[in-house]
Amino acid sequence: MTDAVSTVDVPRAAPVRGESRLRAAAHLAFPFLVVGAMWEITAHAGVFPARLFPPLEDIAAAFWRLTVAGILPRHVAETLLRLFAGFVLAGVIGVTVGIAMGRSKRAEDYLLPLVSIGAPIPGIAYAPLIMLWFGLGNFSAILIVGFVSAFPVIFNTWTGVKAVKEIWVRSALVMGADQHRLFRHVILPGALPYIFTGLRLGLAQAWRILVVVELLAAVPWGLGWLIFGAREFLNTDVMLAGVAVIGMIGLALEKLVFERLEHYTVVRWGMMQS
């Protein structure tokens, strides 16, 4: 989600142990305290109706109530399931098509125009059409998510396979690698940093539209459905709790899933600096 940021490597002064860790935590917490305090003051001042602008304790209470009742975990589970089903679809199709396009000139010639035509249309715009064709429900939601996140995967895999150094391919061939081993030991590891970037961007895209797709596809459970459903009853506290959960999941996907995955593969193989 922050592909442009992570590439910059600016040296920082090494933090001193002990006291400075506390200070770092204080620095991290300070902006949130300021914004939280401003929110509280606005909410309690009664400028806006409390129903529309609930104080933070109401949001926390709504979060706790829904979690204890088991409603929120179920919404989260369904949303994640949908996200991963769509994402796996996109990953399989995207990596296959991308590798084919990178390896074979013929496949590139045939597929590139099709992919370039589909890519500039925002995925969300296809959603009503796909729902018209395949009906409401999970199948359409997963299909839309898969379709949308396939494009960045295709483009990045394609670039990655083409960016594998020609000299590596030639030396592997000279040393007697057959096509299978060439692919497995040279091309795949070489292209993997790009493939990961593509998967990351694809997941971020999928995450960005899944919320709306859930509403449009009228699925019975899901975070998108939770916040849009809460609007009907003016439950702003539930909506904001839902938005907060969405943010936390987004952050967790990035930090826990991708950074780990990257660490275990490309960084360990020395393809990329952590």
Binding site: A4, P113, A125, V212, L216, R231, I246
Partner: protein
């Protein structure tokens, strides 16, 4: 087949590309005409073209596109006005970075479209919601790219400029801003792509009369698949035009001319 023809690589690529596009179009047309599916759901290409033509001629499509562009550009401009200076200041001044960076990292993973229901409650249906959603979507790529651009300006250039007697003002306009410009332009591009997705999604949910997102969503109710596909074509065409023509020429006029990045080989 084509591989054996005595033509150049480039011609062969174009030939193969057109064959692929034509083949997909022919498949679609054959399915549409076969009568397996209701014609309302799967209109023939001829019907889609006719609908598009009629909608362009009577001005409705232009009105939809104009409304969408208006909302998008308002939100996008707002995001530049706020995000660019903020990002640059975050790159220049440590306290500002310390204050805004944690907030940005916390807000960024929330998809802009998740705010739509909240914003509808706060601001009512209409343009404000769409513009604010676009603003939210475009703000973070703009800000973070400006921030990393400023931070990645070569230290050597700063010292050289300082040694040659540049004051703060000259340093900013002559060194930092051009140095950060490749990142800033990447930020503009990313922000535009996000904004374009956001505006279509926001219009589906929050507008009630005009807009390309709204017309697609509304056409679903009346099973007008031809209108939907026609609007998709327009959305794709606008996105493509901006990406290639507008940002491509900005890039050529600035960073490529200044030698900051090299043009991709044709």
């Amino acid at each position: 087949m084509i591989g054996s023809l005595p033509v150049s690589d480039r011609t062969r690529s174009i030939l193969r590309g057109s064959i692929a596009v034509l083949a997909v179009a022919a498949c679609y047309e054959a399915t549409a005409r076969s009568g397996w599916f209701a014609p309302a759901l799967l209109p023939t290409l001829q019907k889609v073209t006719a609908t598009l033509w009629v909608m362009i001629l009577d001005g409705t499509m232009l009105h939809h596109a104009a409304m969408t562009l208006y909302r998008m550009l308002c939100g996008f401009a707002l995001a530049i006005v706020v995000g660019l200076p903020l990002g640059i200041m975050m790159g220049r001044f440590r306290p500002i970075e310390r204050f805004f960076m944690p907030l940005a990292s916390a807000l960024m993973p929330i998809p802009s479209l998740a705010w739509v229901p909240v914003f509808i409650l706060w601001f009512g249906l209409g343009n404000t919601v769409s513009i604010l959603i676009v603003f939210y979507a475009a703000l973070f790529p703009m800000m973070l790219n400006a921030w990393s651009g400023v931070r990645s300006v070569n230290q050597l250039w700063l010292r050289a400029a300082g040694a040659m007697g540049a004051n703060e003002n000259a340093m900013f306009w002559k060194v930092i801003l051009p140095g950060a410009s490749p990142f800033i332009i990447t930020g503009l591009r990313q922000a535009f792509l996000r904004a374009w997705i956001a505006v279509v999604g926001a219009e589906m949910l929050a507008s009630s009369d005009w807009g390309l997102g709204w017309v697609i969503y509304d056409a679903k109710e009346f099973l007008n698949a031809d209108v939907m596909i026609a609007s998709l074509v327009v959305i794709g065409a606008i996105g493509f035009t901006f990406e290639r023509l507008v940002f491509g020429s900005i890039e050529r006029a600035t960073v490529q001319r200044w030698g900051m990045v090299r043009a991709a080989k044709a």
